[in-house]
């Protein structure tokens, strides 16, 4: 059983060299960047908008007890049943309990990254429920028995031919590779399932405290149908998704659309406050909201990294991250990938086991620069590394840095290091590029420059 760290290295090695994968991702990202930049430019002041969004989320998260209580009070007033899940297990138990109570057989889902986080689908399927992902991208990866590749675009890594092959293999029939035709195949499958499903399970983008509503953003309409047709509706949502007021959505919905998909607004932004109300003739008879902690309160307690809970899951940081673009979403081996995943996962799932995600970054800062709510992402990567080194220092690294310090701070020792460096460089030249080469990590793919015949400091001394 490989550790997550070893698996990451294996997968990263494979994907980094996969030129077909690199091309697919670069093409997809190029299209995204064009429309994203148009949308950002349409704002009168994008940077100011980021500040307003950051302030709003800061207020929400730093008064989470108040806003969460307000949200629950208001949504319960309209007949919604609110459940509390401290752990992954509790989340699954609550939802399976509802399915059991309702004698459900068929469950239809709209996109919910929290459900990936608690491994809900797997448990539901093993218990004997038929589970269908209605979002097209999620449906495709579900058929392929893969995890979503990206938090907004689950099937980004696939070409139309890949998808055609999957549909042929898993659904039968002979669709062409035309994207429209393939989409209509999924639409046809889903039509039946919406009508058959006993329970609809959704995620949530925001939980509005002031009016007690769950806000769901989507383009396809599958969440709206999941929320309209089955008799029981369940929303699984992280406690940190709270927003103070309805009017805050006027800022967040356009920013989410701009950074997530390069749209003015996503096609459907819908607010759900309860089950079918008196006078309404459709909609679920029962509405359950399951609030998930699952270590979010632990991140909340880390005042340094608390702002990582501000995340609105737009995916923008993934899109600009050169590590993500080269190794792909699956390599992270966990629900949340890209920079936000690298920041959160060690704190949600264990520092020791997942620190490598924070290590695997050149700290370029593109993520921090792009984040619409101004999360200090690359600083958090540094903090995770510091915390990891404190918790479990690496003997060799600590030793190397301890030895280096006096060399770098004493002119005499540095001068000696320079001379030894030349000798070392000459010796290294003999084994360069081979497994004996101590610089093999570098020289496997790159040439090394030689130590200069006269270093700067040696030259500087001659001027005196």
């Amino acid at each position: 059983m490989t550790t997550p760290s070893a698996q990451f290295r294996q997968d990263a090695t494979r994907l980094s060299a996969d030129l077909r994968h690199r091309q697919i991702i670069q093409t997809a990202m190029g299209k995204y960047e064009t429309v994203r930049d148009i949308r950002k430019a349409a704002f009168q002041n994008w940077e100011e908008a980021r500040k307003l969004a950051a302030n709003t989320k800061w207020e929400a998260v730093n008064h989470l007890d108040r806003y969460l209580a307000e949200f629950v009070k208001n949504i319960e007033a309209r007949g919604t049943k609110v459940h509390w899940a401290s752990t992954s297990q509790q989340g699954r138990d609550i939802i399976l309990g509802i399915l059991r109570e309702k004698n459900a057989k068929v469950v239809i889902k709209s996109k919910a990254m929290t459900s990936e986080e608690i491994h809900l689908n797997d448990t539901m399927e093993k218990t004997g429920y038929e589970v269908i992902e209605s979002d097209l991208g999620e449906f495709i990866v579900q058929l392929r028995e893969e995890a979503p590749y990206h938090i907004v675009f689950p099937a980004m890594h696939l070409t139309r031919d890949d998808i055609k092959d999957t549909f042929q293999k898993k659904l039968g029939g002979t669709p062409s590779n035309n994207p429209e035709e393939l989409t209509m195949v999924a639409r046809g499958v889903m039509r039946e399932k919406y009508l058959q499903a006993d329970v609809g399970i959704t995620g949530a983008n925001f939980a509005v405290a002031e009016t007690g509503m769950i806000s769901i953003t989507e383009n396809e309409g599958n969440a709206r149908l999941t929320a309209a047709l089955p008799r029981t509706m369940i929303t699984l949502v992280g406690i940190e998704k709270v927003l103070p007021r309805l009017e805050d959505l006027a800022l967040f919905l356009p920013m989410l659309a701009a950074m997530g998909t390069g749209q003015t607004l996503t096609c459907y932004n819908t607010f759900y406050g309860g089950p079918r109300q008196p006078g309404e003739t459709d909609g679920p008879e029962e509405y359950h909201v399951v609030l998930l902690d699952n270590q979010r309160t632990a991140v909340l307690a880390d005042a340094e990294q608390r702002d990582s809970l501000h995340c609105i899951r737009c995916g923008a940081c993934l899109n600009v991250c050169p590590i993500f673009r080269n190794v792909g979403g699956h390599t992270y081996g966990t629900t949340y990938c890209g920079p936000i995943g690298a920041v959160l996962t060690p704190n949600l799932r264990g520092l020791n086991e997942w620190k490598h995600l924070s290590d695997a970054s050149s700290l370029c800062g593109a993520c921090t620069e792009t984040c619409p709510v101004k999360i200090d992402l690359h600083h958090h990567l540094l903090q995770n590394r510091r915390n990891g080194a404190r918790q479990k220092p690496s003997f060799w690294q600590k030793l190397a840095f301890k030895i280096y310090a006096p060399l770098a701070t004493s002119p005499g020792l540095w001068s000696l290091t320079t001379k030894l460096g030349r000798i070392g460089g000459a010796l290294q030249g003999l084994v360069k590029g081979t497994r004996l080469d101590p610089a093999y990590a570098w020289t496997k793919t790159r040439d090394l420059p030689p130590v200069a015949k006269q270093s700067f400091r040696e030259w500087w001394k001659t001027r005196a």
């Binding site: 995204y32 704002f43 009168q44 002041n45 994008w46 908008a49 307003l52 302030n55 800061w58 207020e59 730093n62 989470l64 509390w84 401290s86 097209l136 675009f153 696939l158 070409t159 994207p179 989409t183 209509m184 999924a186 639409r187 039509r191 009508l195 009016t211 383009n219 396809e220 309409g221 599958n222 709206r224 149908l225 929320a227 309209a228 406690i239 007021r245 009017e247 959505l249 006027a250 356009p254 749209q263 003015t264 607004l265 996503t266 096609c267 459907y268 819908t270 607010f271 459709d282 909609g283 609030l291 309160t297 909340l300 307690a301 005042a303 340094e304 608390r306 702002d307 101004k374 600083h379």
Partner: protein, 238 residues
């Protein structure tokens, strides 16, 4: 007394939250400058949102034009009609050109007139109805709460638009609106919902921006992923 497990987990979570928040976090933008901001972090007001979001023209004419442009970009059809008769005629044309056989709607000032004009069998969602039947309708006709110029959106609720399914299950969603329902931007739209429904909100409120779509396959735009493939907004000049 039987302990409600839900209450105790709720208390656990709140206890952890309060404990966590007893340590203050640096204010936005001040994580590394060694001092917290002098004043509290305040929530933005609508005028703050308006200062930063895309510009919307002040006049109704500009706003109509903006809505029209947005609708075109979204591949939603938008038509201004001068009176109820013109509205009826436009719908008859639509029904004929698309070969509708059966429509769905809810009762309302505009929709009742519309359904009469179209003259096809109609399923009304005001009383209990069968979803399979609704799915067999060629078009769902509804009213709305607002049109939003800034984004080209239609705002509707389960109370103003005949429920949750009418506007999303049939393959063509037709919205009947009045020009007086046009609002400039999202802050105005959300304020309208609050003032109209107060504390008795419908169970669903939706901001619809174009026909259903997906880009999940190679980021190629495909319309009609699950929701309506076509969205038509007919706007009565009042």
């Amino acid at each position: 007394m039987v302990e409600d497990p839900r209450m105790s987990e709720r208390e656990n979570i709140f206890a952890r939250i309060r404990e966590a928040l007893s340590v203050p976090a640096p204010r936005p933008g001040h994580a590394h400058d060694g001092h917290a901001a002098a004043s509290d972090v305040s929530l933005p007001k609508p005028e703050d949102h308006r200062r930063v979001m895309p510009l919307v023209g002040a006049s109704v004419a500009e706003q109509i034009a903006l809505f029209q442009k947005n609708a075109a970009d979204l591949r939603a059809a938008f038509q201004l009609v001068k009176d109820a008769a013109a509205l009826g005629a436009a719908l008859k044309d639509l029904a004929a050109s698309e070969g509708w056989k059966r429509i769905a709607a809810h009762h309302g000032e505009l929709t009742d007139g519309a359904c009469k004009a179209i003259g096809l069998p109609a399923l009304f969602t005001d009383a209990a109805f069968d979803h399979q039947e609704l799915g067999r309708c060629d078009a769902g006709i509804s009213e709305c709460d607002a049109l939003v110029a800034q984004t080209g959106s239609v705002v509707l609720t389960s109370r103003s638009a005949g429920g949750r399914s009418l506007s999303v299950l049939p393959p063509h969603h037709v919205v009947l609106a009045r020009r007086s329902q046009l609002v400039p931007d999202l802050p105005a739209a959300l304020a309208l919902l609050k003032s109209k429904y107060g504390t008795n909100f419908p169970s669903m409120m939706s901001i619809i921006t174009g026909p259903s779509r997906t880009g999940d396959i190679e980021r190629i735009l495909v319309l009609g992923a699950h929701g309506p493939k076509r969205l038509t907004v007919l706007c009565l000049e009042d």
